[in-house]
Amino acid sequence: MSTETPVLALKGVSKRFGAVQALDNVDFEVAAGEVVGLVGDNGAGKSTLVKTIAGIYSPDAGEFYFEGKPVSIDGANAATALGIATVYQDLALCDNLDVVANLFLGREKLAGGLGTAARQLDEADMERSSADLLSNLAVSIPSLRSEVGTLSGGQRQQVAVARSLLGEPKMVLLDEPTAALGVAQTAQVLALIKRLRDRGLGVVVISHNLSDVFEVTDRIFVLRLGRREATFETASAKSDDVVAAITGARDRPTTNGNAGGGAR
């Protein structure tokens, strides 16, 4: 495990929506080559934390350190520019565009010639890069030119994850990457997450599914009611303890060892 400066560290981050304290003085950090599982019950603040890191929400209080340097993340573009890529639960792909267009959405490659505004998209180069990227990640799609709306849920998720890598990010946030996927497709996505870690990226995985979390993460970070409840080293953690931290029943001994069911 890397002990150097974390890719991203948050200190005392708070966010309030009206009467709801969604995040309350949260510290969080992720290192390069590390997969951190972010777990918690519904409404614990997981999505808020991810959206704050991704620049969608601006926090009410707190400090951000990217590779040790203090930064402020104003907007999604600032997060992307720093090297933070996000894959959202609701996918955020354009169904009417093909795989290549979706992969390069917002960072299209341009061919030479003409003025900047009239520059032609370099479709051949983008398609080539898409093919390379997807084959590197062992993602298989019927055709790069098929509309994303025609793909299966697992394929769409893999396209979404692959897209996050095109900006050469230093860390990737994955919001419920295996939700609504079948067994085989979940296995593909988990394998993909491990490949991200092996590439030296800091990876944050939000998940309700504790068996997935135990399979891919190095560290488990539990949020409860907007606060940091506990962190576990995955290798030494027991699922009972994680479930207890999620539900707030840490002092009450749990008898049922079924982690996946306990996360509901």
Partner: protein
């Protein structure tokens, strides 16, 4: 962190349904939607030719082409708005106001034709940008913003025209827009130039795919497209040279259609327009400045409406209180929809502006030849529009059923 322990998981247990679902279904459901328009157009032409053998003469076809230029130009801007999944009800009124501005500046204030035309287009651009700004800034539905615009700019038209109510155009530069015909030689040079540019561009793109290692695509597709475009161009040139020659107005329309199609499909901006129309939230998360795209699109719609309006006034040789009124707005929106641009956003092409205008123009022209009443003309056009929208809705439902989980 062990790379070795991960088995390569075999991918894609559930492949997407094969696209060979039968030509008839693809025809109805959108894959071959553009072909659908050609068939409809062919049927319309066949029926009218059968009823009146003057319909397919060079003279009448040239008239038809001239009749659709103004509405076609306005539709080019409307396509962009439709691609966003929005609507612009003010394009008709903008076209009238911009034409009036050009006419008044040129005739009453003695501006040179070029600066008057430029000012007219600028009026359209500014109005479009303002409406786009109101739409994005206050989150008012585009329907309402542009409905308010429709009324406002109609009023402004009356104001600009003043007490006389009509401004006659006399400047040969302005009237020449719609009344210039190129000689056979020039027409053929232009036509062959178009073919050469299209063939060159297509083959260049294909060679680039090959050199990038994407040689999977064989040459038949690009060659077929080049042949089709060549046949269409040569056919059109044969028709117009048999009559008065290639009209400048038609050349302007085709240039804008081709240019704006290029912008829509080949540039970053166009890609972003499709993305915002397909899934605005996804576009925003991808870092696209979606409100900027929206304002720009309404600016394009306003500018194209102005250009169409100026051309219409040039054809009419005057601007009056009815300029940009009547059914112009509705036909400019109906055309692209009839030709396959979706009202739901994210799907369509600038070519549908041309094809839709051709369909509507053919119905109108043919019924005039048959001396049918306007009542029939409107009802038939309405029926065609209704069928087109139903097909669009069915195709969308089909995509949702097949595309989602």
């Amino acid at each position: 962190m062990s790379t070795a322990t991960e088995p390569a998981v075999p991918a894609t247990p559930g492949r997407a349904p094969a696209p060979r679902a039968g030509v008839v279904r693809r025809f109805i459901e959108g894959d071959l939607a553009s072909l659908r328009v050609f068939v409809v157009l062919g049927l319309i032409w066949a029926v009218f030719q059968f009823e009146n053998n003057h319909f397919l003469t060079a003279e009448n076809l040239t008239n038809l082409f001239l009749q659709i230029t103004a509405v076609g130009l306005i539709s080019v801007g409307v396509v962009y708005v439709l691609l966003l999944g929005e609507i612009d009800l003010s394009v008709g009124a903008i076209s009238g106001l911009a034409a009036a501005a050009t006419a008044v500046l040129n005739v009453k204030h003695g501006w040179s034709p070029y600066s008057a035309i430029f000012a007219g287009i600028l009026v359209g651009l500014v109005i479009g940008v303002v409406q786009g700004f109101l739409f994005t800034r206050f989150g008012i539905p585009s329907f309402v913003v542009t409905l308010a615009g429709l009324l406002t700019w109609q009023g402004a038209l009356l104001k600009v025209l003043g007490s006389t109510g009509t401004v006659n155009l006399t400047d040969p530069k302005v009237t020449g827009l719609a009344n210039t015909f190129y000689s056979s030689t020039v027409s053929w040079i232009i036509g062959l130039g178009v073919i050469a540019i299209y063939a060159g561009g297509t083959l260049w793109a294909w060679r680039r795919r090959v050199s990038t290692g994407l040689a999977d695509q064989d040459l038949r597709g690009p060659l077929t497209r080049v042949v089709l475009v060549s046949v269409a161009t040569i056919g059109a040139i044969l028709v117009v040279t048999a009559d008065r020659g290639l009209p400048l107005a038609v050349l302007i329309l085709l240039a804008f259609v081709a240019g704006m199609e290029y912008v829509a499909t080949r540039t970053r901006f166009g890609r972003h327009v499709f993305a915002v129309g397909g899934n605005a939230e996804a576009a925003r998360r991808a870092g696209i400045h979606i409100n900027g795209v929206r304002v720009a699109v309404f600016g394009i719609a306003g500018s194209m409406a102005a250009i169409g309006g100026i051309l219409a006034s040039s054809r009419l040789l005057a601007v009056n209180q009815n300029s940009g009124g009547s059914d112009l707005l509705l036909l400019a929106i109906a055309g692209p929809v009839i030709a396959g641009t979706s009202l739901f956003g994210g799907r369509g092409s600038v070519w549908t502006a041309l094809l839709g205008a051709l369909v509507i123009g053919s119905i109108s022209n043919g019924m005039d030849l048959l001396a049918l009443d306007s009542s029939v003309k409107y009802m038939v056009t309405g029926g065609v529009l209704l069928v087109a929208v139903i097909v669009d809705a069915l195709a969308r439902r089909q995509r949702q059923a097949a595309g989602r989980l």
